[in-house]
Symmetry: C2
Subunit: 361 residues, 2 copies
Amino acid sequence: MADEKTQVRFGILGCAEIARKVCRAINLSPNSILHAISSRSIEKAKQFVVKNSLPESVKVYGSYEEVLDDPFVDAVYVPLPTSLHLKWAVLAAEKKKHVLLEKPTALNVGELDRILDACESNGVQFMDGSMWYHHPRTAKMKEFVSDTKLFGQVKTIHSSSSYFPPQDFFENNIRTKADLDCFGALGDAGWYCIGAILWAMNYKPPTTVTALPAATIHNSNGVIMSTTAALHWEQEGTTATFYCSFLSHETMDVSVLGSKGSFHVEDLIIPYEESSASFSFTSGAAFVDLHIGWNMKEQEVQVQNELPQEALMVKEFSRLVKGIKEFKIRPDKMWGDISRTSQVVLDAVKSSVDSGKMVYI
Amino acid sequence: MADEKTQVRFGILGCAEIARKVCRAINLSPNSILHAISSRSIEKAKQFVVKNSLPESVKVYGSYEEVLDDPFVDAVYVPLPTSLHLKWAVLAAEKKKHVLLEKPTALNVGELDRILDACESNGVQFMDGSMWYHHPRTAKMKEFVSDTKLFGQVKTIHSSSSYFPPQDFFENNIRTKADLDCFGALGDAGWYCIGAILWAMNYKPPTTVTALPAATIHNSNGVIMSTTAALHWEQEGTTATFYCSFLSHETMDVSVLGSKGSFHVEDLIIPYEESSASFSFTSGAAFVDLHIGWNMKEQEVQVQNELPQEALMVKEFSRLVKGIKEFKIRPDKMWGDISRTSQVVLDAVKSSVDSGKMVYI
């Protein structure tokens, strides 16, 4: 049984739709508990409690400051618009709250560096809200990519992340407003493509980033609705391409092609089902004599998970927080480093879209 | 039963490895029969007969000219190096032989135009050797892509075609020699990516082609071993990317993403098995409440085929030839048009690799 006294107590800043999922995840994870929620409007916060059947023990605040001032809050989850990340993540760190921050992490890497610096100087843990890193399928895929005998070296990666939201989204969603989230589909969907590509490259940043400005669609606010970009690693000779969009059918694919093997997954970011997920791979594939078929078909690897990936994310974050709280272990910088590399590439793609030029990193 | 008198009689120019597969296909197709094979060396031609257990009735020639001069030959299959296509395809047409030409069709579209003109002015059928067009799976996928209710409009396409041949290939294969085949992996593997992308766009040429010169690897002869390129259709706002390589594990993928649906296939060019093939699709996919899963998984569509796709190609080609021979129907220009659009894009990618610039078509 979970010991409530040692559970990490979460506060949530804002009642965004995604907060419903993470709120559930906080309660599903054995080492964390939801302590407080907040909204700029107390009414909205109260509605959130009802809609999500939260227990009466959860504190309900009408401002974010109150969450940060609550001494029982160990950590905050921040699903605010990107333009507000800098202010609230830094404030949270200064109040010694550990920070689980929604993606994209900031408006640019300069802002993210200020957030990471604040976390470091205040001794709090940082992690961004990319859930798929925490699924055991991701670890299983990593095993395969790292197996030089089966997979060889990574040669190319392609990822696609898209969805086609209803009309209302294009008029009202924060992801379509230049003052709230300058990245649009690139920051929302493209963040995952960039993350998946970097994951396959062990988070080594590419040498160059080339977006296709002609193939980029902006809305009337100048926010990216759809784009395509290519990344290149000079030393490795590896190339990656990705497509992210608010104008296409639901996809979250990644294909990684090595010298000896390859694999692909169609539901990377959110698996089709909660309790298990799969990926398909081949290794040593070749044509049979006369080239009338293959020596093998792709194999499907199924991976079970005890908890949904978002709960595994909260569990890992809380494990680190407990280590800091109870055993004075230093915060793990790995998660901040991963976010930072993603943000650097995100910025470079945006810069390449805007300039029409190849960007060196 | 096949009526030998009305079967289209094929001659083959050259004993390339691929000729073994097509030679088998000619005999599998009910409306065609192998009449003659040839090589510049009669010994090599004789070995080919033995290796492929061809009947004694097959004529064996020590020169290509003899095949073209054989009055019983209706059609020729030309698997010669690309640099020899112009000479031999034009000569064949002038000798009133119908022309089934291996891909890439020519060293540039100017050469292909001379081949197509020769075919037209001599009233013979032209078709290139891309087999996958003729698989019933391709027709089934086309049904899906054309269904605006299920699929919507094409938004992006990605294709990958690669293999990692043994060392000997890099030293001796014609695809690595600048004087025999200037396109290398682009012409061999990339031809299929370009074809698949154009197929999804109903063979409408893109507005622009942008290769990634930095991400292109050449061998010491200056021949492309690996490259990545992006295509863009301005009017439709559609983008496509592809990767082709001699340096990666076996792939022949294509993913087509529409506004309402998407599909992907992993064994496009040569199906895993001869007698059936599948593709996977989703339409109307969305997340369930809380975004903890999807409302559907992708569906696999299995398509049976009575004959291997290469035999279906020969059957279709022979059907057209018989129409011309027996009923004086005019040659079908569609296949030449498809080849020509592929060649135009192939040339543009090569030009973009060489110049480092975006190429307008």
